[in-house]
Point group: C2
Chain length 69, copies 2
Amino acid sequence: MAKNLRLKAARASLDLSQKDLAEAVGVTRQTINAIENGDYNPTIHLCIAICKRLGKTLDQLFWEDEENE
Amino acid sequence: MAKNLRLKAARASLDLSQKDLAEAVGVTRQTINAIENGDYNPTIHLCIAICKRLGKTLDQLFWEDEENE
DNA sequence: ACATTATGTCAAATATATTTTACATAAAGA
DNA sequence: TCTTTATGTAAAATATATTTGACATAATGT
């Protein structure tokens, strides 16, 4: 599956660790790691929570992630 | 939970039934119904498939659905 | 050298998205 | 009236998102 490099970059630009982001949105570090590495398919509520914490929208971080390899 | 009236409207404007949309995106009618009625929290891949079929983006159909009551 | 932080990954358990089957109602057409 | 289509809903089963606990490595600071 495709990695989500936009998410990784947005997180990095705020100087947040995977753990920081995970705690901010109420999931575990492994979940954030898996999303960034494309291992699975999060729920929309989680995506929205991540977007809000990173100051991005769904289209910016998750739209057409499938093509972005 | 909040109903997704934007989704319902977008589907209606293309004259698609819940069943039509469900088949187009590879889920059951009950899943589309539940999403429209806010009973749960679909996966991002499913949201993207729905958006593509309806000619909308994630932000247009799913962004900040939580507030939209 | 040692401790700490960040990341990657894995196996087993748990929570929940989704399916299957089924029943009910309202609207529309024949 | 009868049939069909669209929708809403519910209970039990299945698939999968997510957690928990653990181990490993690289980088950084003391």
